[in-house]
Amino acid sequence: MPSRKSDNGGKPKAAAETRPKLWQDAPEGDVPAETRQRILYFMKLTREVDDRIERKLYRQGKILGGVYTGRGQEAISVAFTCALAEGDFIVPSHRDMGVYIARGMSLYRIFAQYLGRRDGPARGKDGNMHLGDLRLGLVSFVSMLADSVPIVAGAAMAFKFRKEPRVAITFGGEGATSRGDWHEGINLASVQQAPAIFVINNNQYAYSTPAREQFHCETLAARGVAYGIPGYRVDGNDPDAVFRTAREVVERARTGGGPSLVECVTARMTGHSAHDDPSHYVPKEFFEEWGKRDPIEHYTQRLLDEKVITPAWLEETEIEIKKAVDLAVTQAEACPYPEPEECLTDVYYDPTRPVVNQ
């Protein structure tokens, strides 16, 4: 009688033990000191801007509507943006203030936008993170985040058809990966082998929904296999790891190697929005554990230890950042609201209207 015990009895190992890993880690390599310093600078500036918006202006009742920050996730937006070139096309998400900061959008315009003033990129027609300016390669995304994925596929196709060395990149949370457009867009980009990069900001919560209720596959990076493209899973709180990965996938796209999928694992260190108290659904151990892995604190220490920055630079920079943000807020608060009749403008092309954001 054949044995019924699961002792393998000379049979090959179970498939899960020997199958190839379905995703890659961050590649090794050096990151130039100057780049690392820039990354830390932009991360710190991003945190200051986010904090000023959520913890000051919103709490003071000066901002109406939704406030979404990327607290704790700064490494992903900033490090990726630092790996891009002028001419690249970016569709960020609401957790990606770091993209706008590192790409050079003025602080004044960002605060004006949140305050609904005339000089925000949306000129009061839209609010909070729906910032866009094609001169900086930044697209004002819609709230249905996964819609960005086909947009990026199309932009990448345009670059490929025209033989332009540009790449298109989108950022979204693990929640956005559940929508059909996410699949459709990546599938299209991979069929076309277009220069596109799809970043997943896996901060483990989509509003109150934990990742285990969002997807069932082992990792989201593993989905790359389903599209025939490389998938990476990286520590989203390690700016060097994110940058090395970004550099590799950007180079691949730019040189005709097609799209890549990058899952950055991080933690959302705030509520879904400023009015959401996450302690109702996030175990406090999660915040305790991830609080010890703050990307800015760790990177600051690492760069000090490796003598990439000095304590003097750090002190000067913090003062400079605070001044810049103070000034931008003061100016933005002084910016007028749009005229009420502006409600009716720019629904359609009007040759008498000023050209903005492009």
Binding site: A122, H130, V139, D147, P150, G154, A158
Partner: protein
């Protein structure tokens, strides 16, 4: 020029615009070497190649989204929906992204979405749709529907050259059933302007698409009874030619709104509300709408025949209006 079909006029418009402007490209399912399900794009792939006639996977939302991304990078995409019914799969990209982009941050989305629309071809509920009103209800879009060979070409050119997103609906019943000679030289039919197909005295009939021919048939029959219809082919649904409708109603005092689209939420209701608002004292009789009933498009011939407005409906209503 020899007479061409409605379908050939659509193809010609794309061909000429692609030759005229290298930013124009066509994308959709089976549009490349196959030439499209109805062969509308036949020949384009052979002339322009795979970077300007792009075959796509079955992903209407991604097709429209990709077109939007291309249009933000200097290209002028013309998306073919294999049947316009499938446009519902791309609803969010069209209404959230394309329609609102210029308003929200000043960047226009100059795409065209075109495809075979309407019924009377035994197509059933998913190959006979009239989806125009989902999009007429969306500020930021334009919606057009030609009914003649001349307009098919001129309106598609206008759509391709328009800096805003345009939905171009092609009544598939007319594809090979109407033929006409058109000018050889370049011409455009402006969006937002209707045309009087038949001037008349007694009743204004405002219509579009296949129903134009129902109205014309009816006009011919009613003429013998001494009832003179003035038929307006709207051609554009958003924006529609309000001035032309008002001028005509102020002359005739009676209005029939005729469309193959269903009753509730159809364009007829919108036009009727505006006429009551702006031309109330000119009306001799209530405004009448002749439309399909509020059902999905049925398949079996007796059911679809019941569904579709006919010239006998127009005749009956016209006589009622004259007797009011």
């Amino acid at each position: 020029m020899a007479a061409i079909t409605f379908l050939e006029a659509i193809r010609q418009a794309m061909l000429e615009e692609m030759r005229r402007d290298e930013r124009v490209l066509v994308m959709g399912e089976d549009v490349a070497n196959y030439g499209g399900a109805f062969k509308v794009t036949q020949g384009l792939f052979e002339e322009f190649g795979p970077t300007r006639v792009v075959n796509m996977p079955i992903a209407e939302s991604a097709i429209v989204g990709a077109a939007i991304g291309m249009s933000m990078n200097g290209m002028l995409p013309v998306v073919e929906m294999q049947f316009i019914d499938f446009i519902t799969c791309a609803f969010d990209q069209i209404t959230s992204y394309a329609a609102k982009s210029r308003y929200r941050w000043g960047v226009g989305v100059p795409i065209v979405i075109r495809g075979p629309s309407s019924g009377n071809v035994h197509g059933g509920p998913f190959h006979s749709a009239n989806p125009e009103m989902y999009f007429v209800h969306t500020p930021g879009l334009k919606v057009v529907e030609p009914a003649t060979v001349y307009d098919a070409k001129g309106l598609l050119k206008a759509a391709i050259r328009d800096p805003d997103p345009v939905l171009y609906l092609e009544p598939k019943y007319l594809y090979r059933r109407i033929k006409d000679e058109i000018p050889a030289d370049d011409y455009v039919v402006p969006i937002g302007k209707g045309v009087i197909r038949k001037p008349g005295r007694d009743i204004t009939v405002a219509t579009y698409g296949t129903m134009l021919y129902v109205a014309l048939e009816s006009a011919h029959q009613l003429e013998r009874e001494g009832i003179s219809l003035e038929i307006i082919d709207l051609r554009s649904l958003l924006p529609f030619d309000e001035d032309m409708v008002m001028t005509s109603v102020k002359k005739t005092g009676r209005l029939i709104l005729l469309h193959e689209d269903t009753l509730t939420g159809g364009l007829g209701g919108e036009i009727a509300a505006r006429v009551v608002d702006q031309a109330f004292l000119y009306l001799e009789a209530p405004i009448k709408r002749i439309t399909a009933p509020d059902t999905p498009v049925p398949f079996a011939p007796p059911l679809e025949e019941f569904f579709l407005p006919k010239s006998s409906d127009v005749n009956r209503v016209a006589r009622e209006l004259m007797a009011f």
